[in-house]
Symmetry: C2
């Protein structure tokens, strides 16, 4: 119990630290009048978007609250579900909201700092990223710790053994609110940002021939708003959900593994250790005044490595003290997760950075036009799935066996779950290096629009391109941890159904053999559903983007003097279109994610649901990596050509690369990163609706 | 026993019928001198390719023969494996070879007939397709029937019960030769045909601006050769393998299902019935002299429907007579397979034909350029996976339960296997409608190159475009049957390992739960391997195509008067480059397909292998459908625009559509159709190397 208080305190300290950092950032120079004006437009647009999103989401959450309340009356879901749904969703949304607030306040300040020095700009943008990262993990930890304490009070009347069982089975449902919110934030933000980006490019760059971030382009503010609502708010909600998911699944599996309350405490303490490590390591992200790009990357990496070493050392003592030397294998499960995360990050960089041969070769393929560029990028993405799959496979095998899975199956499953916690333990700092990217990107846009000295834009560009690399790494990391967490969820799902079947009126025994037709069909549908989801998200971007195209064309035609820079475009209308259409598109996508496991469950029973979850995890993992890496490589191949290779900007090669980049946009920023949420949301829905499926899908 | 003789006789009759039909075709007018000259060039090129391919394949087969012989000495494989490997491979290759011979003799004759009438041209091209279809199924049936009779003699000393067990377990290994050959033929031919096609288009259409099939293009003969070696020889070997695979797997599962020799006879008799039905239905493919395009499609469809009805009625009596009314459910399994095939075909057409909205909408997306065209096509392909997956899922569920799987698990698995036989029973006629496409395509090319009257080209174009639709249908059909057969193979794999473990020194019990880490990792690797395989095959096309691009550019530069049509290009050099590079690229791809199950087996044991097979089937099914349908839709969207919509040929929309079509080429003709072979080859390798994996992978 005292240990959980430590976790709670760490999370509050984390929030205080973030608040103090934010205070320091806000004290910085927020730039001249034009910078402020543009920055305010972006702020206003992002606010408008989030307001509308939260309104839509509010309706959905209200509706679900009533449904859950209704179901809880008939005992189909636990009484905590409606409330944890609301609270979890609120905190996930809050993570995104705070992230967006920080980012929109930091972008103009970064531009202003870039007028003076590169390092000043790095300092502000990275510090802001750190605030976002620390807030996300602290809020997640706060929620779980508080939830634990609440359940502990609630079940006070039970003896400790039974109490932990109740806590473990209920804490699992704490993820569904976050998962739902993450889907809305990630997919909605993803559609917004890419619709604006693609729409702005298609008319601006391709039809009219004005450069990127040109203030005459009516979609340019929407594009910058998109960075904040997609890459910051969306990612914040997404990773909050991953973090919470990995924690609740390992807590839930701890009891089945026979580790009782100590097994619940370990993941929470490792996470708390990670928060502390992340905070400390932010101070190491410093560099000399005359730093090169390489130095900058090294500085960021140093932060990640230092916090990893902290966790690697500290976790040893946590496991040894709480679980004893006989369970020290669990420490190695944590370590294998931590290492896998770093390795996946490294290989993501290998495939998407123009420092390495894959992206260089892709750039070379632009010589034979857009078709070969597309084939090359798709092929690159597909081949890049191999190493992450092998890394995750080894990690699963190691964390299962090292934790003692060969003797006690449930201990092995706990090992897999806690390896995901290990991977995500340094999320605070990883997210910091990731969230800093869109801030730098925005700063660049503001520099361009406010007609700063080219030197300023060069500095922000250096930061932005660095951000591309860290963003790709962050995505690989999110997907890798999702695969491990999803596996833990399947195990937790089986556990929770078995517990219900044991105590309830509906008898059920699992037959999870892949030759059981129910499981087999579940696998097929799981594989297919990721394709369907991918298709729907890409379509949504396409439809929203085409609306932007129409609007931008209209403004250029109807506003006299716009092309000559004498009149101002109507930025707000583009923001509005993106906002509205992304919300509308969300509906079908959310229905697919939520209805599929219920329908499959009702038709094929709990075996079919387990198959569905496994199938979507297996196929989704590969698709998500492929999409993120294809997209990242196309983007960087284009940037590589823009750096002057193969004829540079405006050459035929560049045109082909732009086609690749445009195809890659929804790949890497909408569909790819949404798949991991799809997988986990389907798991959460399966768990929460488990009793319903057991009652009606088991006929 | 007498029943098997009937099967053997039917297969021989089928071959005789095909020979007679071929004789009739060869009697037809083979056109004027130019037609003959071009047709001969294509023939020569195709011969040169197959000669070289068979040389390379011969080395591989020789090597594998020695390895299998060696393994059989130590009892790791049965003594029949080396021989059935050679014979199966030979017959699969022969199917392809005969197909190619027929096609290259029919193409010029089709052009000549098109000078007179559309119907004459349909008659020749369809008759040739029918010859190919009937040869493929007859050879497959001949092989299995003969193999059965041979094994029956060999095990003559055993009592009937034991004899059938031995036959069933050995007949399973009869597929590996065909699978290996199919991989070479399909992938090698696929690389050849698309390298030539893409290479010819990139220089001819895009750089130099000469039309398709222009005789000045040095790659034009290679392009036409490619149609024969890829779409005819490759597809022949592929479907021969599917056919044999579905038959051997249901024979093997019959014994475990307790149906003994009668259970073995049913699939063979249904297949024989299908051959007869296909032959009869070819006579119904007739149409009036003034037929429209719609009439033509109806005529082709009539053939498929009539033979389906034949099988649907006849199979009832076969099942009832042999297995009795208590097993009549097995008939419904057959029926569900038959129906699923037709439904998958229909929905494939829906997604890829420009008669329906998906392809029309895709054509519309070319308005915003190549990037949206690509996104739209990928999205279309992805969404099109949903219905086939649902159809196959229902078919699995129905065939499992209707055959009695809820009472006897093995009976259910037999039901799944025999539903694949049902789906493929009408292969003779389906293949006829499919193989006729490339012949018509070639005929069009010859018409263009020999400067025929535009009316001739118009007639062959009508046939060609019809062929595109039937080709897409055929691919959906091949993939659907592959999914069912692959499931049967997994079941047969489990059976065969269990039999070995029962009798041998290596004890083993399966734990195929999806939560078993070995199975889980197998699933992940299986999913990933289809992505890796897709990447490698697309890369291979890209690399080979870029060599063609270099060669075509060189010829236009170095051969004076080529552009003006005064000099003749060196067609043979392009054919030669395609031949060489497709063979070289094959090596890595074959190694992936063959080594993966062995490596996974040695590292993760038989459970891991089963996971691998399930994972690759689940993911591969969706990817294959996506690729075939995306490719088909891009192709037809382009054709739709060329018909005069959206600005027609040469417009910006058309240019964007050409980019889509070029990306789609390797999708639909190389990678997509190869995946089903990958899945089945991995299954075959797992089964054949089962004992080795059991001995060394189970430590």
């Amino acid at each position: 119990m005292n240990l959980i208080f430590i976790v709670l305190i760490v999370s509050i300290l984390g929030l205080l630290f973030a608040a103090y950092q934010l205070y320091l950032i806000l004290k910085e120079d927020d730039g001249d009048e034009i910078i402020q004006k543009i920055s305010n437009s972006i702020k206003k647009g992002a606010n408008a978007y989030l307001k509308r999103q939260y309104k839509g989401v509010g309706i959905f959450f209200g509706l679900m609250f009533v449904i859950f309340l209704f179901l809880s009356i008939f005992d189909y879901v636990s009484i905590f579900v409606p409330f944890s749904f609301i609270i979890g969703g609120f905190l996930s949304g809050l993570s995104g909201y705070i992230g967006m607030k920080v980012a929109t306040n930091a972008n103009g300040r970064t531009t202003a700092a870039a007028k003076k020095s590169l390092n000043g700009a790095l300092n502000i943008s990275f510090k802001s990223g750190a605030v976002i990262g620390i807030v996300v993990v602290s809020l997640g930890l706060f929620y779980i710790a508080l939830g634990y304490l609440f359940l502990n009070c609630y079940y006070n009347y039970l003896p400790e053994g039974e109490r932990v069982v109740e806590i473990a089975s209920n804490i699992l449902t704490f993820g569904i609110g976050a998962s739902s919110m993450a889907l809305f934030a990630r997919v909605g933000g993803g559609i917004f940002t890419k619709a604006a980006d693609v729409g702005a490019d298609l008319v601006g760059k391709v039809e009219i021939g004005i450069p990127e971030d040109d203030p005459r382009n009516p979609a340019v503010i929407a594009d910058n708003v998109g960075d904040n609502v997609g890459d910051v708010a969306g990612m914040g909600a997404d990773l909050y959900e991953s973090y919470v998911g990995s924690l609740v699944s390992s807590c839930a599996l701890a009891v089945a593994a026979g580790l009782s309350v100590k097994g619940v405490a370990v993941p929470l303490l490792v996470a708390a250790l990670g928060v502390v490590a992340s905070i400390i390591s932010t101070f190491f992200v410093r560099t000399k005044e005359d730093a090169t790009q390489k130095n900058l990357l090294k500085a960021l990496r140093r932060g990640v490595y230092i916090s990893s070493i902290f966790v690697a050392v500290g976790a040893f003592f946590i496991v040894k003290t709480l679980l004893g030397t006989e369970n020290i294998g669990i420490y190695f499960s944590i370590l294998s997760g931590l290492l896998s995360g770093i390795l996946i990050g490294f290989f993501t960089e290998y495939y998407t950075s123009d420092n390495y041969s894959p992206t260089k070769k892709l750039a070379d393929m632009t010589k034979t036009g857009p078709a070969t560029t597309i084939i090359g990028g798709l092929s690159l993405g597909m081949v890049s799935t191999a190493i992450p799959v092998i890394i995750v496979s080894i990690s699963v095998l190691l964390s299962f066996n090292l934790s003692g899975g060969s003797n006690d199956f449930n201990l092995g499953l706990y090992g897999i779950a806690i390896s995901a916690v290990g991977m995500l333990s340094t999320l605070g700092i990883t997210l910091a290096t990731d969230a800093y990217g869109p801030i730098a990107d925005n700063a660049g846009g503001i520099a361009e629009m406010s007609n700063q000295d080219p030197e300023v834009r060069k500095r922000t560009d250096a930061l932005d391109s660095l951000g591309n690399t860290t963003a790709a790494t962050g995505k690989g990391f999110a997907i890798g941890s999702a695969a491990l967490t999803a596996l833990a969820f399947i195990a937790a799902y089986k556990d929770s159904i078995e517990n219900m079947a044991k105590s309830g009126v509906y008898k059920f025994e699992f037959n999870l053999s892949i030759l059981n037709p129910q499981v087999l069909i579940g696998l097929f549908i799981g594989g297919m559903i990721t394709f369907l989801f991918s298709s729907k998200t890409m379509d949504a971007v396409g439809r929203a983007a085409s609306k932007i195209v129409v609007e931008v064309r209209r403004q250029f035609k109807e506003i006299p003097g716009l092309m000559e820079g004498k009149a101002e475009p109507d930025y707000a209308s583009c923001v509005d279109i993106c906002t509205k259409s992304s919300q509308r598109e969300l509906i079908t996508i959310a229905v697919i994610a939520i209805a599929t496991p219920i329908v499959v469950g009702l038709l094929l029973g709990p075996n079919g649901v387990a198959g569905l979850l496994a199938g979507s995890t297996v196929t989704g993992f590969s698709i998500a990596i492929m999409m993120s890496n294809s997209g990242g490589a196309w983007d960087n191949a284009k940037k590589y050509i823009e750096s002057g290779v193969l004829g540079g900007k405006g050459s035929d090669c560049h045109k082909a690369a732009v086609v690749g980049d445009t195809v890659g946009d929804p790949f890497k920023d909408t569909t790819g990163p949404s798949i991991n949420i799809l997988i986990k949301l389907m798991s959460m829905v399966s768990i929460v609706f488990g009793a319903l499926i057991l009652a009606f899908g088991n006929l």
